[in-house]
Symmetry: C2
Subunit: 312 residues, 2 copies
């Protein structure tokens, strides 16, 4: 019998128990604070933003599954045991949701939808004629499982696609690859619509700032769906206000939820969504956890184990 | 030497002359009102919303090419000669633009984007969790060249696709076909997101009204990119207000531009775009016209000749 210690502080979390019961018949599913005693025997944590120090109090935890693709909500805990395996979520539902959202928002920026929605509020019949897709350069910043899913969704359209990743990736038809710090500026300089999909690490924090964003072509736009720490928002706003950048869709923020009095909400060139670009789906996520617990118990390497050194 | 009589009353129309000069070297391109004399010899009109009676004054016109897919802007002219061939635009740029716009707006309705944009204006961090694409039923109402292009763009996503057409179309994998008046209600009853792509004819005018829209599932949404006459807007607003329908994206209107004082602009559940879902592209359209003039002059049947009886 497998024991799951579940932590999620969000309305609607009741949907998770039946998903785990379906994926792991007989599971002992314990919702926080009913985690019981550390002496109850081996367990796996499945958590999003658990309280600091909580994981360390349960030495019976064999591995922690992150409810999302990012793990910064776990690694911010200074008491997190150094040798405890952390497993990033990478289920199909997560990839599907991200690919849909990125496809939608790339099309919105390409087709000037944000500007037409502003025109609507002013009762303006303002016809704008977008370039053809073949003349629009889309760049995916961060090319892991989610970035690859986005590229696949964008491929049937005629965009000029590129991807940047820290380490080299296998060559692909129809996608120009940029790798490492040396090629980062060239990647920005050729990108009209940038899709931010980087994890939060010391290297990515503030990576998009006045200096780097200025390298992008005039009228470029930004979609950030990875982590909010990627962008210096004051710099972004300055470049939107001076007209160098044309728009931004922000789904993630350094502090979430975004404060109700934040001036970003009212910026005409910014569309804000509440961290919903990709949502971990209970059905597919529980299957992912079940599969990886089987691997662990068979002595195999589970998928997507966090490399604490590189941070993802 | 081919003679083109061009009529378009819109800013930016200067882009058309070089496109025709590239597609038809040596073309005699005449922009209205400089159409010259009817005695100057055979000519082809390429027009959008020409003045009533104008075409009849030029009996040297051999065929009229519509600048868009619709032809109601030509057939509203009571003096239009009955035997003059009218050719509907169906260039690749038009299909590409429509497919992009429909893909974008289907995703927006599926992913609750209009509701999140309203939440943004209220500074609300309102997380909404959409159904998976495989549980969303998209229906394309009108399955000509543009409808087919939209279906192809939607196919890589996991939506449950259906199409309605007046006459039967060849069966296709992954698309449920509905045909004729008998199957119209069944088509509406299974459609969560409806894409209106019908031409304006007596049969389609007011086809979506209180009775028919009520047949759709609760929370269904409407995207209209064909002709504005399709929808009774008072009925649509009533069904949005009573919560039966969840939203609408309207790109076309019976009267365009939409009047600045129209209350539709301010409706929270309606997104308005200024008839830009698909835009005829000079480059591809001029090639389409050149190809069809060659066919006419070779005694062949040109593409997409209007059937005046059925109205498209």
């Amino acid at each position: 019998m497998t024991r799951i210690l579940f932590y999620l502080d969000e309305p609607g979390k009741e949907v998770w128990r039946p998903a785990f019961e379906a994926a792991m018949p007989g599971v002992d599913f314990r919702d926080y604070p009913n985690w019981g005693s550390p002496d109850d025997g081996p367990a796996y944590a499945f958590a999003w933003e658990p309280e600091l120090g909580l994981i360390a109090k349960y030495p019976n935890i064999r591995a922690v599954f992150s409810l999302g693709a990012g793990v910064d909500h776990l690694t911010r805990d200074p008491d997190l045991p150094a040798d405890l395996p952390i497993i990033r979520m990478s289920d199909n539902g997560l990839k599907e949701g991200m690919a849909e959202f990125v496809l939608m928002t790339v099309l919105m920026h390409h087709r000037f939808m944000p500007r037409m929605l502003v025109a609507q509020r002013k009762h303006k019949w303002q016809r704008l004629f977008p370039p053809r897709a073949k003349n629009v350069r889309v760049g995916i910043l961060g090319y892991g499982a989610l970035g690859i899913a986005c590229a696949q969704a964008l491929r049937p359209l005629d965009y000029r696609l590129a991807a940047w990743s820290r380490t080299a990736k296998p060559a692909e038809d129809g996608i120009e690859h940029f790798t490492g710090t040396n090629q980062f500026n060239d990647f920005l300089a050729r990108t009209d619509i940038l899709v931010g999909l980087l994890p939060s690490t010391p290297e990515t924090t503030g990576l998009l700032n006045a200096n780097t964003l200025s390298l992008m072509p005039k009228h470029a736009s930004i979609i950030n769906v990875g982590r909010g720490t990627l962008i210096d928002l004051d710099d972004l706003v300055a470049l939107l206000d001076n007209g160098h950048l044309s728009g931004a869709t922000l789904d993630v923020f350094a502090q979430e939820p975004l404060a109700a009095n934040d001036p970003l909400w009212d910026h005409e060139k910014i569309n804000i969504t509440p961290h919903i670009a990709s949502i971990t789906r209970p059905e597919t996520a529980a299957e992912y956890v079940a599969r990886n617990i089987k691997k662990i118990e068979a002595g195999q390497q589970p998928e997507n184990v966090l490399d604490r050194q590189r941070g993802y």
